[in-house]
């Protein structure tokens, strides 16, 4: 069975500082990894994904994520946080045998303080 862990329910960071939202996964075979963002009272929006290739993936709004196979991690990063980045972030994983289904983490609430 595949699983995703987001170890931090809440991350606070000052505006202008770098941010990291952590994600680790467990899946059989090669993973397909995604980050989604949810703003209040809205549906989730796709940020970025790793399918294969370069371990550093760049996505929307200046976000990037680094795939680390040995540590089974896919942490979301941004060099300089904005107040408007405050939202709920979800990591998700899918595998070859269950490609129709993504398993989502429990989410991390990011608050960027002005």
């Amino acid at each position: 069975a595949q699983s995703v862990a987001q170890p931090e329910d809440q991350v606070n960071v000052a505006e202008g500082n770098p941010l990291t939202v952590k994600c680790t996964y467990s899946v059989s075979g090669n993973p397909y990894l995604f980050w989604y963002v949810q703003y209040p009272n809205r549906g989730l929006q796709f940020l970025l994904k790793y399918i294969t290739g370069d371990n550093l993936v760049k996505g929307s709004y200046g976000f990037e994520a680094e795939f680390n196979k040995s540590q089974t991690s896919f942490h979301l990063k941004k060099p300089s946080a904005l107040v408007s980045d405050s939202a709920l972030y979800f990591c998700a994983v899918g595998g070859i045998g269950s490609a129709r289904q993504l398993t989502f983490g429990s989410g991390t609430q990011l608050t960027v303080l002005p």
């Binding site: 549906g43 994904k49 490609a99 983490g105």
Partner: protein
Amino acid sequence: DAGITQSPRHKVTETGTPVTLRCHQTENHRYMYWYRQDPGHGLRLIHYSYGVKDTDKGEVSDGYSVSRSKTEDFLLTLESATSSQTSVYFCAISETLPGLSTGELFFGEGSRLTVL
């Protein structure tokens, strides 16, 4: 924004009553999904569809049924609602499987269901 409409957006009902949530898409995407979102659990897959009249169970399918008679519509039915089904329900669509190059999910705005 992807053309996904969920209805109703808010509903309050009583235990034991049937409830149907509707998801309508204008993107002609093959795959459609119903998720529920609960604090501490993230999103959990209820049912999904990979074509008209082709559906399958997800992680938390007990107490739910679905139907897809047209490409654009995916209905989620709670035959007899219980308080444990109080949640926010999200419909999602994708053009291909999540593991393929264009397999990202597009989500609707959500339907908040309260079962008293």
